[in-house]
Amino acid sequence: MKIAVCISAVPDTTSKINFIENNTAFDREGVQFVINPNDEFGLTRAVWFKEKNQAEITVINVGLADTEAILRKAIAIGADHAVRINADPTDSSYVAQQISSYLKDQGFDLIITGKESIDFNGGMVHGMLAELLNIELIHACTSLEIKNGKAEIAREIDGGTEYLTSDLPIIVSGQKGLVEESDLKIPNMRGIMTARKKVIEVIEPQSTTCKTTDIGFEKPSKKAEVELIEAENLDQLINKLHKESKVI
């Protein structure tokens, strides 16, 4: 089985989010970039397939040279090949077109992405990929098993779970549930040495246009001070929620 896992580099979940250059650019100072958590759940599931069924894993990232650290981590935890498309991933449509032009005609059985990145939260690339490659997409998956060439999948729906089956190839956009938090792998010394020696394939981007452009950023306005309510005075809380906030 040939698996492609698309990963992106995002600020670690504890990062402070600030902007520079008159609020037009993200302040990368002191920010650690990691594999997008939703992508890492999918990558870890891919490694599980490799350990069980000898799958071959290629990880792909659209990013500049400074994102190679996440590709090396992906190799260290089990990916066989790493590809970097050498471009600044400014827009989902741009990223989807770059990835699809690399993936097409390569015969991948399974393409895994995260359901969304935790930086721009777009969750658009996998749908665009599905349409560009004409492959079925299953979005927001919480479990994935492949048996006799058929995928058995659970996906999140609002208020529950839906169970599906599909022939391969498919695109799966994943999240926690594909594996548990405790299954995430910490690279061991052998993995780190392998990753250090591995050549990352660097591909120059196709020329294509962006459909959206971020022209500026703002931070949420400061909220009002918290109002403390005495534990003995819950009537006051109910009264405020009813009369002032009008939420009950």
Partner: protein, 322 residues
């Protein structure tokens, strides 16, 4: 040019998010000085939608739309939008909408932006405001394609009642919809419970509750408020509650009117995930917990004493206020 509002249904009825989508779509059409139409797939809208004053509702009934299939739904929206000459398409922020809209965007070569929190900032160039970095910031984003798809964040715009006659028109699909390789085997849904995505009120428990056996009072509080239940990441990681209840940056986002956090200290990832909620109430023993600062109201006290009292008082409040 016109605005097309894509409505969602569940068990033959429009989802509760429809009112806000219609209000937004109509305001957007008026901002763009054009018309607003709504699209309902496999659901008869009847007159329930007249109060939102949309001129026309297109109803499409087709065997291909009986259960949700992202590709088929995208095919349907694409055809209707092209026939009606709509170049702005408004969709919700539900899981299914997000599933469909990337496919739709590529099909129409549209610019697609979701998590939008307001009417556009500019008409030309068309610029929207959307939340990014898991609600820790907003981006101003220009959309540079002829067709634009706008995904609206729940509870960001609200509902405007505006009675006007609504024409209901049925529409026959001509698109050749291929049968899907995906086969639905079944669904598990929360029987008689409201989902986090649809809820106006969410009651959430954290490690401060000490163990899964203490969740009865969370259930009771959710019950009296008609609320959905949620939990913090450690609670779901420890297996006290199912993953489907985990809210926060790597869990589900919450955009309810009221969010009540009980025994949750408020890690930065949790606060980000729930920050779109309008009003946040915290019940915690520790006045220094990060969530206290981020809340609108905080009750400093022992949840095991405060919550049962709150349930009783809310019951009395409900009786008094019908």
């Amino acid at each position: 040019m016109a605005v097309l509002i894509v409505l969602e249904s569940e068990n033959g009825e429009l989802k509760s998010s429809s009112g806000e989508l219609l209000s937004y779509g109509k305001a957007l059409a008026s901002f763009m000085e054009t018309d607003a139409f709504a699209l309902s797939m496999n659901c008869s809208v009847q007159n329930s939608i007249e109060k939102y004053g949309v001129q026309k509702v297109i109803e499409v009934h087709s065997e291909h739309l009986q259960s949700f299939n992202a590709k088929n739904y995208a095919d349907c929206v694409a055809e209707v939008s092209q026939k009606l000459n709509c170049d702005i398409i408004v969709v919700s922020s539900s899981t299914n909408s997000k599933y469909m809209s990337g496919i739709l965007a590529q099909k129409l070569e549209a610019a697609y932006t979701n998590n939008i929190v307001d009417l556009p900032l500019e008409k030309k160039p068309f610029t929207v405001k959307r939340s990014v970095y898991s609600n820790k910031a907003f981006a101003h984003t220009q959309m540079n394609a002829t067709v634009k798809i706008l995904g609206l964040t729940k509870n960001s715009f609200g509902q405007n009642v505006d009675h006007a006659a609504t024409e209901i028109e049925s529409f026959e699909l001509t698109a050749n919809i291929a049968s899907s390789a995906l086969e639905i085997k079944g669904q598990d849904t929360l029987e008689g419970q409201i989902s986090i995505a649809d809820a106006d009120v969410v009651v959430s428990g954290g490690r401060g509750l000490k163990g899964p056996d203490n969740w009865k009072m969370i259930e009771d509080l959710a019950d009296v408020l008609g609320a959905a239940m949620a939990c913090s990441k450690p609670v779901s990681d420890m297996g006290w509650r199912p993953h489907s209840e985990h809210v926060g940056q790597t869990g589900k986002p919450v955009a309810s009117n009221l969010y009540i956090a009980i025994g949750i200290s408020g890690a930065i990832q949790h606060l980000a995930g729930v920050s779109s909620s309008k009003v946040k109430v915290v019940i915690n023993t520790d006045p220094e917990a990060p969530f206290v600062k981020a809340a609108d109201y905080a009750v400093i006290g022992d949840a095991f004493e405060v919550v049962p009292q709150l349930i009783e008082k809310l019951k009395a409040f409900k009786i008094q206020n019908g």
